[in-house]
Homo-oligomer: 410 residues x 2
Amino acid sequence: MRQSQLFTKTRREAPSDETAKNAQLLIRAGYINKEMAGVYSLLPLGLRVVGKIKKIVGEEMEALGSLEIFMSTLQNKEVWEKTDRWNDENVDVWFKSKLKNDTEVGFGWSHEEPILEMLKSHARSFADLPRAVHQFQNKLRNEVRAKSGIMRCREFIMKDMYFLSATEEDNTGFYNKTIEVYKNVFDRVGLGGITYVTSASGGVFTDKFSHEFQTICDAGEDIIYVNKEKNIAVNEEIYNAETLEKMGMSENDFEKVKAAEVGNIFNFGTKKCEQMEMFITHKDGQKYPAYLSSYGIGITRLMGVLAEVFADDKGIVWPESVAPFKYHIIEIVSEKPEVREAAERVYKKLQGNALYDDRDLRAGEKFADADLLGMPYQIIISEKTVAEGKVELKNRKTGEAELTDPNSLQ
Amino acid sequence: MRQSQLFTKTRREAPSDETAKNAQLLIRAGYINKEMAGVYSLLPLGLRVVGKIKKIVGEEMEALGSLEIFMSTLQNKEVWEKTDRWNDENVDVWFKSKLKNDTEVGFGWSHEEPILEMLKSHARSFADLPRAVHQFQNKLRNEVRAKSGIMRCREFIMKDMYFLSATEEDNTGFYNKTIEVYKNVFDRVGLGGITYVTSASGGVFTDKFSHEFQTICDAGEDIIYVNKEKNIAVNEEIYNAETLEKMGMSENDFEKVKAAEVGNIFNFGTKKCEQMEMFITHKDGQKYPAYLSSYGIGITRLMGVLAEVFADDKGIVWPESVAPFKYHIIEIVSEKPEVREAAERVYKKLQGNALYDDRDLRAGEKFADADLLGMPYQIIISEKTVAEGKVELKNRKTGEAELTDPNSLQ
């Protein structure tokens, strides 16, 4: 992409009401636009990051055998009444409105009930199960506060997956397999080393009903206790003498850190299916409630966490797997046509993989923009590099630079 | 995709409250799920069709130089008040709700105002223009009636593109270029021969302020008058003696048909930018309002129109370009393992391009499902075809079948 064609401009300052570093950086770099508190639009570079995260997550969910669907935002009151979750006292984040005929409608803050309702009309027998479905979708939540930038929004993109099965064995098997797959996901987006599996109901060493994936991050809203050496962590809620004893560990083994929840998984057992009357016929001809588990990953939150944890004082530093582009070509404007020609050749070679700063700006402005935007590698092309038949390849993260043969880039 | 892994089941009957053929077929075939009147979710095969339509539309918009973005559903009242379109008397399809602090919010029925507001912070000078952006997004509209299946929904996916320029010349040039690109789009999705450009304000022979793209379709909500030979059409609103005279044509030249609006384009001139105070600095140092034009295509509506116009009495007939899969492999269950082996070989060869009915069902049920689902080509593999070292390749549309070498398929 030619930067001259990119309509977004970088800014020195974020909006004064934006206090979260992730949103400040992403707004300044032109990745997102703030529509109101807790609501952000995705601009071209931001949409590319989200697209890369979605691709990684989608590949991993499909490898689990899950099929992608796309549920509606508008929600049917009757479906949610079955679990008593239409009630604002039980769910305090609903946005609701009314049709012209006064029928109440909700806006999807979750899709657990509608997805189960939809699956009911397609699965009746044990032979129809197990099945997994997932979607990437905007969730709308009427949060009281929205202060963590795109890490806690009133509108955000989530990947939610649901696994429906006839037996507890299938359910537990899929649950445990997904824990491993989620580790792959966080490894692939670049958060592997700082993301921990925790359990809100008993630590990783139990097989209780829910687990969280927590990334160490100063802007996170959660507290976890980690042992980095053993790669284990404990949620604040259950960090107590009893838990430590069960683990055979002591307080000295753990470090208290702030963390952001990037994923969570729930095992509903048969409870949700009982409430929703999702019964299936088993081999004995009898009807039994099905087992349900659900699996979330905060897609736009991940973008915020990545921006937050890898930033330095110059700007964003994307991991290569989710960067909008691997390379940022910086053409140092020159009167010699060879410089432009060399830049165009490199751009053509790397097309699709490079953002090309072809603007008529001073080198200093281009460097500052490139550092703020955070592509993993900068390719600097100037009179000097052209004279040597090379380009300067600079690592955004380490700052290391070397002259290299442009033909070796890929 | 193996049909044994596809959780959706076909149905003999659509829901009794569903009167539109497109939705009846798509629900019966398991492409969509009805959440409530005018609200449908996309199931795996439906999402694939939508994905193919989006890909075609996206490629054509990018070829115009447009960059993809993704705006929020939640909308800021203040932005819409600038054009007096927050008012329910002026816009009667708003869904609205409130934040916890009583701030009113709307749900995006359109994104014209928010996109222009966003662009304001990135374009200040003539040198920043022209720019085009587009998105694919759920629009929420509080329609009084929703009776045309997925052709008129309370929630639907639309591609909307916006072109912002400093001069009338740029604006008109892009407008006219997009008319041609839209023709490509409708050709590519298979609707070329039955889609007409019309003008609500003066016929195709003028360059007035808006044009529509109308596809001949019995379930359409519009009336147009077409001359198929000359490939022109006139909207009902302006079909009168004056228009006909201007065109040098008579009533005898036109046929009255029902049509569905699949695309529309608007030229706002400078009006919207004046209302929104989107001024840019020209070469003379003075500020002038920018020019705006907008370009819509109903993505999910297109799926409905395609299902509606190409259906026959057996079910859906997808054009190859938007079909979920090009091929439907129908394995006629046999005790001879060679049949399964042959089917698996063909599936492996065509992977990604084929839905494979590997279910343990009677041939009649499989044929009926395949006809309902509407892949363009059916590949029938039975003891008989295996004995001859062939497969039967059947064209869903024409019904023509021939024995063919499986190695020739691609």
